[in-house]
Symmetry: C2
Subunit: 648 residues, 2 copies
């Protein structure tokens, strides 16, 4: 993680452009792990999420021609109340669907999206304002409470959906609606006289505006994002001012501090990650996009500090972040409880968004190692293997009380994990005219542009179950470029050959990437071997809930033990220091996964006859154990689960 003395200035002044992601649809997962998940998302997740939106009457609320219902907060048929930011759920669902449409058009899905778009168009106010909740139910509250009401957050997600749908289909209707909405925002907010000097407490529109900017190339779209980022946390706070306008005491704020929204001080002065985890990582993603586009070293410096703080003090071993449900976010350093972990699915995904952007500015595996970590663990655990049940909180320990749900009071995570998996191809490579960086390993074929020149790259691998990767390059013509292969931080014994010749890895390593600069020819074959021993990880001793315990990891995959495999709660286990765990591929486990088998000692719960407390220790008996990938937990019988195992 040592970044040396590299500064923003040197980064931004250096060389021939920066790494940009490949279009996700240029990467085809041709088999194995991610193909299986993408198939599930396309065939199950996207259609069933639409069914939920129907069943739960979300679509009905979009029917602007009927009179609004009598309730300020309608109750969904499932008994859950509807949140006022439900436009965001449409937005993310359309975005997820669009990512799959870019691979393969689907008239049925498109008809549904077109219908939603038509409804939104019907509802949009003549001045461009668009938010179903407020138009239909509380028009008098429009733009009165940016602190709590998520109006621009909702618009931001609609905007991301509109950009993705346009890019997938070429249809402009949704994009035009959202361009009009963005114009309305530009007319309403800013530093100019007569405008409101506000910003949404839940960052999101900033990130969406950067996507729009990259589509339109219109400077004013980027400038609006800059304005929101620059204005955030300026004092006196706009949130105070608008609270007073509402006749409220600004101090009477349920979350007590604007750090909840990273709005307690200007973003460039923030050195520690605080507050709501999704707000934070959406904001940091937008800041990284702006740093990329504007080469603003002050933003980059802030991001580096924030990243260092988060990864040194606030990150679960699974890649989850935001340990507390009270603020859906961060607490004190090293406070990473297991059973009460919040570790919201959306937050892990947004961490993926952020580090992906960081690596575009600074190609360093400290970022992309975390991308890999969340992809296989803390984000993926948010969706069931059946593709239609979810976790909001991703605990690291359970006594069986945590079960996946079909729908939720705040259904933000399902569509988020859907869009993340659907667009995962976009995270595999970044490129610039003279380099191609490989961040993720997966059975796949892709056509990547290096500037104007195309390179086809095929990966043959059973990753993440096996660490042997064979990459075959097919440049459209032989050419010079640097192929940068991420050597995962978990791998100590990587071996690399090019066309059968061994590469001296230490000699070519640059910030965690094996950097192979050469004249590449059609059919060049690179073999990367990443041995995957079963590893035991220890946490910093101030992570109290992991002290004396070990987490099991193999390659990028974090493991856990489930009661359904071992027959008793895994909390009763002690893992001897010398106990070996052997990897086996189990085809029958939820579509196939590598599991770990071995022996450990377990407390004899049935044999304990001493009441609740006793002088003698519980008797320990040897027992066979099985560990499964953490992301696959809670897909079978209910029961206990544990990531951090007590070590003997």
């Amino acid at each position: 993680m040592n970044k040396g003395n590299q500064t923003g200035t040197t980064l931004f002044s250096g060389g021939a452009g920066r790494f940009v992601p490949v279009d996700h649809a240029a990467v085809h997962f041709t088999g194995g792990f991610w193909k299986s998940w993408q198939d599930t998302v396309r065939d199950i997740t996207i259609p069933t999420q639409y069914m939920r939106l129907e069943e739960e009457k979300f679509l009905e609320v979009l029917d602007f021609r009927s009179p609004p219902g009598p309730l300020a907060r309608p109750i969904q048929p499932s008994g859950l109340s509807m949140q006022h930011f439900f436009d965001s759920d449409f937005g993310k669902w359309i975005e997820a669907a669009s990512y799959m449409l870019k691979y393969r058009r689907d008239p049925e899905i498109e008809a549904r999206i077109d219908d939603i778009v038509a409804r939104l168009g019907d509802g949009q106010m003549p001045d461009g304002y668009l938010n179903s909740w407020f138009i239909r139910r509380e028009p008098e509250k429009r733009w009165t409470n940016l602190r709590d009401l998520h109006e621009m957050y909702s618009m931001g997600h609609l905007l991301e959906g509109a950009v993705a749908y346009f890019e997938a289909t070429g249809k402009r209707a949704f994009l035009d609606i959202m361009l009009k909405a963005v114009d309305h925002i530009i007319e309403t907010f800013g530093t100019e006289d007569g405008k409101l000097r506000g910003y949404d407490a839940h960052a999101e529109v900033e990130l969406a505006l950067m996507k729009l900017y990259r589509l339109t190339g219109e400077e004013r779209h980027r400038q609006l994002a800059s304005y929101f980022v620059d204005e955030r946390g300026q004092m006196p706070s706009y949130f105070d001012e608008e609270a007073r306008r509402r006749g409220e005491d600004p101090d009477d704020y349920v979350f007590h501090t604007y750090a909840y929204s990273q709005a307690h001080k200007p973003v460039r002065e923030q050195e520690e990650v605080e507050g709501h985890a999704v707000r934070a990582t959406y904001l940091f993603s937008a800041m990284a996009d702006l740093a990329f586009e504007t080469a603003d070293p002050t933003l980059w410096t802030a991001l580096e500090k924030l990243f260092a703080h988060m990864t040194a003090k606030l990150l679960y071993v699974t890649g989850g972040i935001g340990s507390s449900g009270d603020n859906e976010g961060f607490t004190r350093d090293f406070d990473l409880p297991n059973e009460t972990a919040y570790a919201e699915t959306c937050a892990a995904i947004a961490l993926g968004f952020w580090v992906h952007r960081m690596a575009q500015i600074d190609l360093d595996s400290c970022y992309t190692d975390i991308l890999e970590l969340v992809a296989y663990n803390g984000a993926l655990s948010g969706i069931a293997r059946d593709g239609e049940h979810y976790f909001y909180e991703n605990v690291l320990e359970s006594h069986g009380q945590h079960r996946r749900w079909k729908w939720h009071y705040c259904p933000c995570c399902p569509t988020n994990i859907a869009r993340f998996i659907a667009s995962l191809g976009g995270y595999v490579y970044t490129s610039k005219p003279d380099a191609l960086a490989v961040h993720l390993y997966a059975e796949s074929e892709a056509k990547v542009m290096l500037g104007e020149r195309a390179v086809t790259i095929r990966q043959d691998t059973a990753y993440p179950w096996d660490g042997d990767i064979c990459l075959t390059l097919e440049p459209e013509e032989a050419m010079d470029f640097a192929l940068c292969l991420r050597i995962p931080g978990w791998s100590d014994e990587a071996r690399l050959t090019v066309n059968g010749e061994a590469v001296d890895l230490p000699a070519v390593m640059v910030k965690g990437y094996a950097t192979l600069q050469r004249h590449w020819q059609r059919g060049d074959v690179i073999r990367l071997a990443l041995p995957m021993p079963v590893e035991r990880l220890h946490a910093h001793p101030d992570v109290s809930d992991a002290f004396g315990r070990v987490a099991i990891k193999r390659g990028p995959v974090v493991y856990c033990m489930e009661e359904t495999d071992i027959g008793f709660p895994p909390q009763r286990l002690r893992l001897p220091q010398d106990a070996s765990l052997e990897a086996h591929f189990d085809e029958s486990l939820l579509g196939g996964a590598t599991i770990l088998k071995g022996h450990a000692m377990a407390a004899d719960g049935a044999g304990w006859k001493d009441g609740l407390y006793a002088r003698q220790k519980p008797a320990m008996i040897e027992t066979a154990i099985t560990a499964i990938p953490y992301h696959l937990w809670a897909n079978r019988e209910p029961g206990g689960m544990l990531v951090w195992l007590l070590e003997d």
Copy 2:
């Protein structure tokens, strides 16, 4: 804990009356531990609690002649909002003060109480209804919501205060007010036509009515308590009925289940302890009072089952109960988290109330061992050594975020711990004409009635710091009776002599009590030696948060480690299995306490350079450690605290 095949029937049919507690003021703590605490309560706690009631404008709200303020829920000067059941705080404060007045009258305190009583008298409605909140602010809500509004809970605490004040001073005004209030309740609630068939969801008035009954001897007071206990949990639920009367959907209940109030089924059918911990233990206390007075074996059978469940599955090693803040109560079996423990001070105290009553029916140390446990640990931890700061939640682990407070949103615990300590003399002995039972050991002198005959009993001891107790009996005349001495469950090596002659303990043990039946003379001396080795306790292996860990106990006192003593967070410690801990009396520690000293291994936090997760274990270094009594924690510098130490 094996109660054999003893049943309620045999218990109630047996012998010459049952054990009754001595009047608390008959027991004088003449020095040592409890004298020090009682002095603090008299000199600091009771006066400062009155100051808080003044400062926080509680007394102002009692000024019925001024118009009510504009707010439905007034904000106190400390910024906390006032709860609608604040009458209960007056009631408990008057009760606590009265217990000390019974030792020594105090015109200043009495003038304050008389003033409150006069105000309450002014406010009482002509029909006897008395509840300051509802009379002053929401008269239309009177008796409309027994599920949520605590009206009878508040009246119950006023009634307990009135009984105690009458007993201490002979002044009738408060008692007369409350007798009129009770008459109003009798006229309003019951099974007769025209009455409401309700009961308060928060048990309390039942227990208060039993105190009144024992004062007045009026059967209708006992019958009202019986009615409330019998009616509780009958279906269809009164709470459903009254919710519908309010135009609400009964299913729209924030706590989801009436088990929250032990009202999900009739009390005699309840076999497991569920819901809000204080509600539960107040209810069970009233049930035990009724079982005592009515010899109803069905109540007793239920109580035995509930007690067995609580002690086998739901009790912290400190005596705390109710592990979750969500319902202020019980969750699943063995769910006893440390850092998020709720373990409300009031709940530990109420557990003391309950087991004290159980032992009046069945003299068994399984009950009184828990009385001792809560008195020295989980209840006493609720008050600071300065007598004017408090804990509501009594966690077993902290990273320094838990600090004692001066006042609280829900200030129920301060007056509860005050009344418990002030009346602790009443827990030391119970007696019947042919027996005297000693439950607690403490430097003290008492005059106890065995029927008509008085026995003076002196205890010379430095308990709980030392286990040698010398009891001297001074019966007014030589007489036969059984002296029953509790041999604590934690003591394996007790030794007993009577006038210097060793007693064969196993031969005289009956349900945990050494039962010495003889002709006692003036000056008989009983010496009980209870050696107090430092003990390590292990929890049932299904208490996951204690698995692999040990709690340290010496005699009745549970120990903890505090960062302020060891210089780093105790969560970094591993206690070797063979590490010895030596007891030392430290006069300088908060008025004097026995501390434990020894050595353990600590993770080298400063030396860890590996980021958040690493393959290597943290280096361990030997370190000197100090443990202090748990009840004394959080009286010095802020920092980490831990009860359950990781054992190597």
